[in-house]
Amino acid sequence: MNFPILSTLIFLPLVSSFFIFLSKDQKNNYSSVYISVFSSLATFVLSLFLWYSLDLNSPDFQFVEEHSWINDFIKFKLGVDGISILFIILTTFITPICIISCINSVKDRVKEFLIAILILETLMIGVFCSLDLVIFYLFFEAGLIPMFIIIGVWGGPKRVYSAFKFFLFTLLGSVLMLVAIIAIYWITGTTDITEIYKIKIPKDYQNLLWLAFFSSFAVKTPMWPVHTWLPDAHVEAPTAGSVILAAILLKMAGYGFLRFSIPMFPVASEFFTPLIYTLSIIAIIYTSLVALMQDDMKKLIAYSSVAHMGYVTLGIFTFTKQGIEGSIFQMISHGLISAALFLCVGVVYDRLHSRLISSYGGLVNYLPKYSFLFLLFALAALGLPGTTGFLGEFLVLTGSFQKNYIVAMLATIGVVLGAAYMLWLTKRVIFGKNVKDEIKKLKDTNKLEILMLTTLAFFIIFFGFYPLPLFETLNVSVDNLILNYEQNLNDLKIVEK
């Protein structure tokens, strides 16, 4: 197959954002909305085609594209395997929903907003496709620019503080990763990750390099104690910004652990496992407790994101098949559920312009459709069997029980706390008797909102009951990942003896 399908996938949103830039401002910006909806749907269809034509029995990277880029130094190399394809699908699936959501919620500078979202989509797909460390870094870092603008321009009252915090935290983490990438180049002579997998980085370097990558991924995940930018960014970002941040940007770090940290630095990964376990457990329990105390809906969901990402890091570093598949599944599921929850908050925020839990109550009598969907997503978030939320957490816990039962038991406490804050949130927002007068005047969800939320609800339930397509896609790649990890570890240990 010579057709450069991955490059097309990456640059399609970018090209269409250019067309939006050129398009004339009309009333309500219809042309830019149509272009962006159409192009993001086209990207989605293309990515589905990519999934369909991916050979699931091969652990190798497929659709590989190589172009010489910086002399004989770095190649522009793209490729996908069973793990990255799911993240690409998640990205291309969430983006059209974001674009549709902004028809209701963004009133000001719509054109620029759509351009920013589409550029962000390009960069996010690029992150998941790149097979070269420098290219990865390029896409990873460039995503800061549109997100900074999205939070800063269309955000809430404290948007400047949040945008700065988001940008500087992430940049600080990432520059160390850049040092590590360049160091890897001088150690191995290449930045092509398929080559680096074969070369095996010497044991002495691994710990420092692992820490440098960790500093970037830990900020992005975000792990305790560098998670503090996330609640601020989520609260102030516009709805679509929050959705992209929660659903996709956070997943880059989990993907980074799987793609880079574990295969490239197996010894260091094993060495630092206790650190990851400790931070994950703190994230799960501590941030769940913090979430209980929030009076702002978005902040509550943001803290629950940190807790859910705690399961992800925990699962990845079990190095068991259940754990890793579970954490990937958890990432996909959290991508769908948190997107849905942020959209739900966006729906009422557009009407009442308040995110405080105390402003609401008794919605079930006046917005029945909305309340039903909200309840569904809340239950999915707390891990109700039959939704994707359950499977992810269940597999991660299964995986971690094999390695360390104390950690697994502590992580299970998080499930209980998760149920507590989600149910309490639902009780205060959806139910309750003290109904304010403003609530009585609210209109129920309109067609567009129903469309977005039911699509998400459908997939949350569908993959909750029938997760097989996802696991089939992952199966061979994850097996290969674990196999390589163990082999690598043994080889380096033999060298040591």
């Binding site: 880029w69 910086i70 002399n71 130094f73 500078r109 420098v134 870094y137 390029l138 870092e141 460039a142 800061l144 620019i145 900074f148 603008i149 800063g152 321009v153 948007r159 400047v160 945008a163 700065f164 940008f167 500087l168 940049l171 600080l172 520059v175 160390l176 850049l178 040092v179 360049i182 160091a183 180049y185 001088w186």
Partner: protein, 471 residues
């Protein structure tokens, strides 16, 4: 001898044309426009001449003048950047009534001085070139002679620069005394670690050069001169002499001081780290854009010096790439200043930019691109500049330098973000006059499109720069 003079053809042409347009300026009244346009034409002709020169290295005048790829590259960079700086600022010059016919002529003289600087292979020629350049720059700094701040900046620059020239000359004479020659190649052979006197000489020369490129701790003049001088002069100061100064520094480290690498390396590392830190920290509290750009240029010189500090060919090359991209970014940034005009007066405070993204979306997006590039965020050109420098720094296992450098990148990102915040996040309070300065707009367009598209073919500059230095 006469046959060899064609090696000097660009310099001879430049000298003769300076004399002739000086005559035109003296004898024709109100000749600013004519002289200005003629000087642009002269720059273009000189550019074409240099492009057509053969590429093999040649030396004349007892090996004191060398013409090779290295000098040609820097001459082209100097000419091209002067052309853009000069033309984008023309409207500014006439509107601020500094349209004296001497203005473009003095710039040409400064260019001539820089030509000899980058081509010199001898202490005497190098010093003459440097002084010709500095003399022209003193006048340029105080060209707005009725303005107190401009005169002040001129005097300040003159006093401090004269001191540094003195140190430089003292270093040169020491070097001659300890090695017995003024020729670079000869000095390179004579120098070794036992020659303690020559190491003193090296320190003096380094101090002088560090002053010219405004590296910490010899940077004190920069913010005041940048702020005091008219913007058109500041943009020249920020770009062209820096290029020549860095070229000379690289040349000194590469040829005469190649054998005492360990001695000067420590000094350069110190200068580099302190420039990066000061450039990042001091810029945070600035309110004036020109002053902020002054501190940012100090920081950028620090990054370029990090490449020089490796003491290896790849490091020098990365520094050259860095300074080339820096030139493009700064020309773009200063051209944006020419469009910030309100009621006939040019604005230069950051607060004057508040909320311009609504009324001037194109100016805002240009600022955005240039500032993110200055901050070194991928995929813009500024990132690759830093990337190449740190690649060679890490190649030579100077991890501490790399980590300090990248951490200061984060700190300096803060003040670039602050400007972007003012442009995009703050409420609109100002709308500038309709811009009539088409050249500045075109310059911004060129600069931005270079920075955006650089990632498509990032080895373009490297391929050129790779041919400059001979082992």
């Amino acid at each position: 001898m006469i046959n060899n003079l064609n090696i000097l053809l660009p310099e001879i042409f430049l000298t003769l044309s300076i004399f002739s347009i000086l005559m035109i300026g003296v004898f024709i009244r109100k000749s600013f426009n004519l002289v200005f346009n003629l000087s642009s034409v002269i720059i273009v002709i000189t550019l074409v001449m240099i492009l057509n020169l053969p590429t093999q290295p040649e030396k004349i005048f007892l090996d004191s003048f060398v013409r090779d790829n290295f000098s040609n590259f820097f001459k082209i960079l100097i000419l091209a950047s002067s052309l853009f700086v000069l033309n984008s600022s023309k409207t500014f010059i006439t509107e601020n009534k500094i349209d004296k016919f001497e203005y473009p002529i003095i710039i040409l003289i400064a260019i001539l001085g820089m030509f000899f600087m980058v081509s010199s292979n001898d202490l005497i020629l190098f010093y003459l070139g440097l002084e010709l350049q500095s003399l022209a720059l003193y006048i340029l700094a105080s060209i707005d002679r009725d303005n107190l701040r401009s005169s002040e900046s001129g005097i300040k620059y003159f006093v401090l620069s004269a001191l540094s020239s003195g140190l430089l000359l003292y270093g040169c004479s020491l070097l001659y005394g300890f090695t017995g020659s003024t020729n670079f190649d000869f000095i390179a052979n004579e120098l070794d670690k036992q020659n303690t006197g020559a190491i003193f000489a090296m320190v003096f020369i380094l101090v002088g050069l560090a002053f010219k490129i405004s590296a910490v701790p010899f940077h004190m003049w920069t913010p005041d001169v940048y702020e005091g001088a008219p913007t058109s002069i500041t943009s020249f100061f920020a770009v062209v002499p820096k290029v020549a100064g860095l070229a000379l520094l690289i040349k000194f480290m590469h040829i005469p001081f190649a054998n005492i690498l360990l001695e000067w390396q420590t000094i350069i590392i110190f200068i580099s780290i302190s420039s990066m830190i000061l450039g990042a920290v001091a810029a945070i509290i600035q309110k004036n854009l020109k002053r902020l750009l002054a501190y940012s240029s100090i920081g950028h010189i620090g990054y370029a010096l990090a490449g020089v500090a490796t003491g290896a060919k790849s490091g020098y090359e990365s520094a050259i790439v860095y300074i080339s991209i820096y030139v493009v970014m700064n020309i773009g940034a200063f051209s944006c200043l020419y469009l910030m005009k309100k009621d006939g007066k040019y604005k230069e405070n950051i607060s004057d930019l508040s909320g311009i993204s609504k009324k001037h979306p194109l100016l805002a997006i240009s600022f955005l691109i240039i500032l993110f590039s200055l901050a070194g965020i991928p995929p813009l050109g500024g990132f690759f500049a830093k990337f190449y420098v740190f690649t060679s720094v890490i190649e030579h296992k100077m991890y501490a330098l790399a980590i300090v450098g990248l951490l200061t990148t984060v700190i300096s990102a803060f003040y670039y973000l602050r400007i972007i915040k003012t442009i995009y996040f703050d409420d609109s309070s100002i709308s500038f006059d309709v811009a009539k300065n088409k050249v500045a707009q075109i310059t911004i367009l060129i600069s931005c499109s270079f920075l955006i598209t650089f990632f498509l073919y990032p080895s373009l500059l490297n391929n050129v720069v790779n041919t400059l230095l001979i082992n």
